[in-house]
Symmetry: C2
Subunit: 340 residues, 2 copies
């Protein structure tokens, strides 16, 4: 298929090529209604600027956009740390946005970044992700895109992840090897791929060790909070006095569970072992300190930006870029909330 040109857009709208070009570049001497019409048609016809135009654009902004669910979570602030440091080296500026786990906000932010003509976008998806049209638009516009941590399998673009299923499998196997048999899982929300994968890793570890899966030992976090960890620990202990371990979706939830157990004189790890996921700083200073899976946030940020630059550079040179997926290794940090 012949690629759509500025001329095609101009003919359809019955305006000059110059006006179309100016509208796409966001010049202020084009009226808002014309600009909107041009953008709508460009999107509808899947217009993408040619490589020279892309080059011009690339030279202009030297900024990249990052969308994360929330910055106050230590994992994401570490990711941002890695991204900013890597960007600094190349003289790039980083625009940081927070979706607050809202896809609606995420869509708006993608548009803001595209209008701002950032040279590339890094994103970790909001939890309630059901459609990916707004991200497909980024790809269609040939704006380099890298997903990290919370990704969508259906998007064809670069990704930096950990193997959540394997990491969860290893965490639960660690509990089983220490003698635990009745292991609860405080899982994450139903949509995010990493929460699904950790749940599947939990199930596979049980299966491989001939432990029957018991639905009543699964609790689903909505907010992935300290409070949920506390509440679920209380609830499960009321109903199952004989549970001997909890595998939590993230350290914050695990720390909530430990707080409940501590307050109620339920010995961790002697009566109930607890294992977290992410390795926040606080996990090393609470009592008992938390055994957890180390999730390399800082390294993930650096790798994601490197991958983005790789795509940007390929584009500048007019070379084809084949999306890559980098899987970062994780490891279990053994502390005092488990028996071994």
């Amino acid at each position: 298929m012949k690629p759509i040109t500025l001329k095609d857009l101009a003919l359809k709208l019955n305006i000059s090529v110059t006006t179309v070009s100016k509208a796409l570049k966001g010049y202020s001497d084009v009226s808002k209604s014309t600009r909107d019409a041009v953008f709508a048609l460009a999107e509808e016809m899947n217009y993408t600027p040619n490589s020279v135009a892309v080059n011009l654009r690339t030279r202009q902004t030297n900024t990249i956009g990052v969308i994360i669910p929330t910055i106050v979570h230590q994992f994401f602030s570490k990711v941002i740390d890695g991204i900013i440091e890597e960007a600094e080296k190349k003289g790039y500026l980083v625009i940081t946005l927070q979706s607050n786990e809202s896809v609606k906000l995420e869509k708006k932010q993608i548009d803001l970044l595209l209008n701002k003509r950032v040279d590339g976008i890094l994103i970790s998806l909001a939890n309630d992700q059901k459609e990916i049209k707004h991200l497909q638009k980024v790809i269609n516009k040939k704006t380099p895109l890298v997903l990290f941590d919370k990704i969508s399998k259906s998007l064809v673009c670069s990704k930096v992840v950990i193997n959540d299923r394997e990491a969860a499998y290893n965490a639960v196997t660690h509990l089983i090897q220490s003698g635990c048999k009745k292991i609860a899982h405080f899982r994450g929300p139903l949509n995010p791929q990493n929460s699904i994968d950790r749940y599947l890793g939990y199930r596979k570890a049980l299966e491989d060790n001939n432990i029957k899966f018991d639905k009543s030992l699964i609790y689903t976090c909505e907010d992935v909070s300290f409070e949920e960890g506390y509440k679920f620990a209380e609830d499960i202990y009321e109903k199952n006095k004989d549970i001997d371990a909890v595998f939590a979706i993230t350290d914050l939830v695990a720390v909530g569970a430990i707080a409940y157990f501590n307050e109620n004189n339920i010995a961790v790890p002697n009566q109930i072992s607890v294992i977290g996921f992410s390795n926040w700083f606080m996990s090393s200073v609470i009592s008992p300190s938390l055994t957890t899976v180390d999730q390399p946030g800082y390294k993930m940020g650096k790798k994601a930006l490197k991958l983005l630059f790789k795509e940007m550079n390929a584009q500048k040179k007019g070379k084809e870029f084949i999306p890559e997926t980098i899987v970062l290794p994780t490891k279990i940090i053994k502390r005092n909330s488990t028996l071994i």
Copy 2:
């Protein structure tokens, strides 16, 4: 004095007014050497664009720049959270940079943001701040500027702070009221104003309660880290078995001290009370939980951005703006590391 105009610059450099104007706007058809010469002279002659030009600029970027020492500290990630949320409401994008406590990097980042023509800059200063020329440049260029948390008293611009001296005074008074008499202070580095103010608050509280100041009870943190808190706790306890309290510059340092006391069976608070500063989340989940001063990071971020917008709006309307200083209230969060 007559304000410097584009024409003055053009005459001095023996080039056209158009070239000067294009150079200042960063147009690519002006050579780098000309652009550099124009910028150097504009700075030397203290040229500031007139309000119409400022208006044009303001309409163009819709971005603001934020420089913080480090994002992985929970206080600063809360500030960024507040800034991004407030910016979101107004359709502004936030460029986040980290100085890593280096003034050299901070200077470079200020230049990057000015070249990027951000509409305003928010900054919390690096610790080794000795000169402020790079910040004076921002003010001279009439780019709205707000300092927050770590400020310089010598700059005439808006500021959002807490009353560090009073907050520290209250923290130490709290220790004294609980019966403590030999109170150590693990202070921050010598330069930052907030670290000086907390130290002065500590001294004033001792003085007002007729407790003699003892230099040997002061330890100075360089990195403001967990490790320093741990190390200083060990050192002071070796030398002064009878100390009965520690006031730490920040929670991280206090948590390090508590870790040392816990490991060596020194009862907190019965033998030694510990009070922190900042109220990180981890302080509520460690054992014993940490009494601390709540420092409102999220609110500080929101207020700083609101103040920046106020200045930007005044500038758009060509109105004079008088810098404001907002002092946010703090409060002591009583937990289990102190006797009352």
